[in-house]
Symmetry: C2
Subunit: 243 residues, 2 copies
């Protein structure tokens, strides 16, 4: 792991870019005053592999770190600015065309997001190994954001102790099926009128999760309309399970 | 209004029983230290007119008052220990019989809860008038608990500024219809596996409410299994809208 830049923000949070082999990542850690003991780690991923540099993700990373967590985001294989396979590019082109034509997109999403999740998960686990070896970062580990990847990681990765999911992206068949194997406490945020993300599918998934400690928070509005107070609720959720 | 007893609790909350004509009520107010200015008022009602003396309602009243609210519960007409009409008694007997026989109960509930809400609402409004005239109690006014009554009051009573609903009781036709006229911020708590309270009806009602500031919190378990942290979430909701 190699840190390539470091920036100290107004609230003491340190934002560092790193690379780990081919994986580019960002690590946010709380200021030294609030971190005398090792802090819990939260892995933060953006729906459908959007870039880690996306402004809403960056804001969420900084905000969460200020609450006393180490927060990491990476561009895993096929995600963010990482190279895409020819099949990925084809699927994205098919998706644009089908959406413009108003045709069904489920199978195209499946062919795009299914491999994305499968390929991203091992890189997140590799990153987790390395981050937990850094001084000042301890367990337990939380997950935040992209629901499909979070299901995969919560099932595959026993170090994940709590998961905050944002219900606003396509969840491939494999993750819909393994949802019942998710056994950690989880909080799922749902935007009631999220464009292109059918509400009933999110409710069905919430119902399917195997854990008994699951909570759903639904609010009005579209994909990017999550109210500010949900950010605080999510931090309280992590506070109950990671601290 | 006549106060008939007064008790000071460990956390400084004062619990007073009162009567207002035929209406018996309980008023919880925060200790003097935390209440130098008039405090907001929360009307707290229990599903389907259960008694104000019911232990979970009492615990909730005390807890909420400790956060700096005046909280009032009454046994309105037909509710709690108040006399029941012959028609009420008949409907309750019909209900027990139908439930034991596994027969449909919707129409019986309608004949029982419909009049209960219609008769209780004016008594709650009368109580509100009197409570707001007491020294130390100001506006704004919140509502907490029984959803059917809360819908009626939120529509009829402009002084109600925020409503916390517990989705776990029969909602009569009239209130299902006027749900779209509810315009205040609301938080709805839903127990995902609530026995005898179909989840889909609660989700449909949440969808129907006219306000754009509505939030749903769903948790696993049955009617009485609401997790402790939801009590804090509800108080934060009131904090955003009543303070």
């Amino acid at each position: 792991m190699r840190f390539t830049s470091e920036q100290r923000l107004d609230d003491g949070v340190v934002e560092r870019e790193f690379t780990l082999g081919e994986i580019p990542g960002t690590l946010w850690t709380p200021g030294p005053a609030s971190a005398s003991a090792p802090v819990p780690l939260i892995l933060m991923a953006h729906n459908n592999g959007l870039p880690k540099s996306q402004s809403r993700l960056v804001a969420r990373g900084r905000h969460t770190a200020a609450y006393g967590y180490a927060v990491a985001a990476i561009d895993a294989a096929g995600c963010g600015d990482r190279p895409r396979s020819a099949a990925d590019e084809q699927a994205r082109a098919d998706l644009r065309r089908a959406m413009q034509a108003g045709e069904p997109v489920d199978e195209i999403f499946e062919s795009l997001v299914g491999p994305l999740v499968a390929n991203a998960a091992p890189e997140w686990r590799t990153t987790l190994d390395v981050l937990l070896a850094l001084p000042g970062i301890g367990g337990p580990v939380g997950y935040s954001g992209w629901m499909a990847l979070g299901i995969r990681l919560a099932v595959a990765e026993p170090r994940i102790a709590a998961a905050g999911f944002f219900a606003g992206g396509f969840v491939p068949r494999a993750q819909r099926e393994e949802a019942r194997r998710v056994g950690v406490p989880l909080l799922m945020l749902l935007q009631w009128d999220d464009e292109g993300n059918p509400r009933q599918r999110a409710l069905d998934l919430f119902d399917a999760f195997g854990t008994r400690e699951k909570t759903l928070h639904a609010n009005m509005g579209g994909h990017t309309g999550t109210p500010w107070f949900e950010g605080e609720d999510v931090n309280r959720f992590y506070g109950r399970h990671l601290k």
